[in-house]
């Protein structure tokens, strides 16, 4: 079941009505039942079983970690529970990849040895709720977070249906208290619907439209070269952003309808002026997770190696990030690429500071815009790995993106040539519509950012009635009449 489906709308309405009717003490049960039904609708009931097992383990280990005072026992319990949860994730998600990699390695080295490779399982949502469980246990072990003594609330914390499939990855101290004050109000419903609609607009009007262009090229990259590869990569960059941030908005909107505020996940990431800044703006709950639970401990452990220690910690952190995103060598390479970017910045930052020490005014402004442009393209280089079907396809895209045959005035020599190189084989009307919606989105985002508002709802809150309702109608009409409904999958559900 996905957000942009009639089944989900039906479940949502029933859940809202049931929450209104239920006394506050059992609203957690209403939401838990809704979450079970939502997750079960994926058709892989073992996922529900794994969610229950992870919830139970987190609940039990959480209580033990908090109760035990002897430091060594606490430490052993913490590490046991952490390895247990990671083992579940590795077993379900990474075993086929590990098996294939071992067999490939044996083949290359001439060893007459092969392991049985299990069939890949559907693991939608698992990476998210297991990482959330890990953060809960870590916070119990390290900070003064109190354990959740009610199993139902802990289950709901991990399995809450708006966020189970693609996050945000919520911290215990932020979400657990809110689950005890679930309420349905007019204001919550109104705000939630506005945020949800904007998310749906980003998904069906922008992301799914752009996917046609990206898929046309990345589906058969060897048919294209030069500017086509660049345009397809840019299209994918915005498709991925609108798809994922659209989902997050929809998740935040649905949660708001129950009086729950989920954490924001995006803050205009393509306006970042460095890769470090990008990771403060992209998938923020995940980047905070890897920063707090992997990077910081490693950085502190390796502190006596100074900058090398920091660089090493960054590479390991982003390697884990790559592996989390997918069981494949493209994702491992993508993670290592970002690790390399971040590690390089450790040594580049002091140099840049010296370089710019005498700069001011327009020179600094041009440098600033240049940094945003360069950062965006560095990120797009990573997206090539992310989107390509294989490492060899990614290599082809990167090595042919600036080949002479794909640039130059010959591109404009005929209608067919323009259609192939610039429109990526699609129609002029489709390209015009896609460009228009991206421009509208860019203007809305820029206007919101200048006003300092996090969500469309908060931006419109004090606007005159006619402005608010004009925008509401515009968004709804756009969703109905120019939404693309051929694709319903959310990209980040694969991770």
């Amino acid at each position: 079941m996905v957000f942009n489906s009639l089944e989900f709308v039906g479940l949502l309405i029933v859940t809202i009505l049931a929450t209104l009717a239920a006394p506050s003490s059992i609203r957690w049960l209403v939401l838990s039942i809704a979450s079970v039904l939502f997750y079960a609708a994926l058709g892989a009931l073992y996922l529900l079983a794994i969610l229950l097992v992870v919830s139970f383990l987190s609940y039990c280990f959480g209580l033990i970690i908090s109760k035990v005072t002897q430091p060594r026992t606490r430490k052993v319990t913490f590490w046991l529970s952490t390895f247990g949860l990671i083992a579940i994730l590795v077993w379900c998600k990474y075993l086929p990849f590990l098996g294939e990699s071992i067999n490939t390695l044996c083949n290359w080295s001439g060893l007459n040895f092969a392991v049985a490779v299990p069939e890949p399982l559907v693991t939608i949502g698992m990476s998210y709720f297991i990482f959330q469980a890990l953060s809960y246990l870590f916070d119990l072990y390290v900070t003064s977070l109190s354990p959740e003594r009610h199993f139902g609330y802990l289950f709901l914390y991990l399995g809450f249906f708006p966020k189970i499939l693609q996050g945000p990855i919520e911290r215990g101290e932020h979400l657990l208290p809110q689950l005890r004050t679930v309420s349905v109000t007019y204001e919550g419903l109104r705000a939630g619907l506005v945020i949800f609609a904007w998310g749906l607009f980003k998904k069906v009007v922008i992301a799914d439209r752009l996917s046609v262009f990206a898929d046309a090229v990345y589906g058969q990259p060897h048919e294209f070269s030069g500017i086509s590869l660049l345009l397809a990569t840019y299209a994918y960059a915005f498709q991925l952003y609108c798809d994922f941030s659209g989902y997050t908005d929809m998740a935040i909107g649905v949660a708001r309808m129950f009086g729950i505020t989920l954490s924001p996940n995006f803050n205009r990431p393509y306006l970042a002026n460095s890769v470090i800044e990008f990771w403060r703006r992209w998938h923020m709950t995940f980047s905070r997770w890897i920063l707090d639970y992997i990077f910081k401990p490693l950085q502190i452990k390796w502190r006596h190696a100074a900058s090398l220690g920091v660089a090493g910690a960054l590479i390991v952190t982003f390697l884990v990030s790559g592996i989390w995103h997918g069981a494949g060598w493209s994702f491992v390479c993508w993670g290592l690429l970002h690790g390399a970017y971040m590690a390089t910045s450790v040594f580049w930052q002091p140099v840049r500071k010296k370089l710019l020490s005498g700069w001011s005014g327009s020179r600094l402004m041009v440098w600033g815009y240049g940094r945003v442009f360069v950062t965006f393209n560095l990120i797009c280089l990573g997206w090539v790995l992310f989107r390509s079907s294989s490492l060899s396809d990614a290599w082809y895209v990167v090595t042919h993106m600036f080949s002479a045959s794909g640039w130059g005035l010959h591109i404009l020599s005929s209608k067919e040539s323009i259609r192939h190189y610039l429109l990526l084989g699609q129609g002029f009307d489709d390209a015009l519509l896609a460009s228009l919606v991206v421009c509208i989105f860019a203007v809305v985002s820029w206007t919101r950012s200048r006003s300092g508002f996090d969500t469309l709802d908060s931006y419109l809150e004090d606007k005159p009635l006619i402005i608010r309702w004009s925008i509401y109608y515009a968004v709804i009409l756009a969703i109905i009449f120019i939404g693309d409904y051929q694709t319903s999958e959310f990209l980040y559900m694969r991770f």
Binding site: V142, K301, R303
Partner: protein, 77 residues
């Protein structure tokens, strides 16, 4: 109460002439105290006070007051 010695170490590592700090000051309140400088400051504090912090002890630090308490505990041990 933050010791002048600790304040001096922090100001030196961050190349600040002066900054008002007290027990409740957190890292994000001090100019230039980012994740890169964080470990430099921790290493500098360990060298200055001849103490060693475990990884867990450093992760648990929330404020300069916590850091001062940790230094005092390690120094008297």
């Amino acid at each position: 109460m933050l010791s002048e010695r600790l304040k001096h170490v922090i100001l030196r590592e961050l190349e600040l002439d002066d900054f008002t700090m007290d027990d409740t000051t957190t890292a994000n309140m001090v100019p230039g105290w980012d994740s890169l400088n964080h470990v430099r400051i921790i290493v500098a504090v360990e060298e200055e006070f001849k103490v060693h912090f475990s990884t867990l002890e450093v992760i648990r630090l929330k404020s300069l007051g916590d850091l001062q308490s940790l230094i005092d505990a390690k120094s008297s041990a």
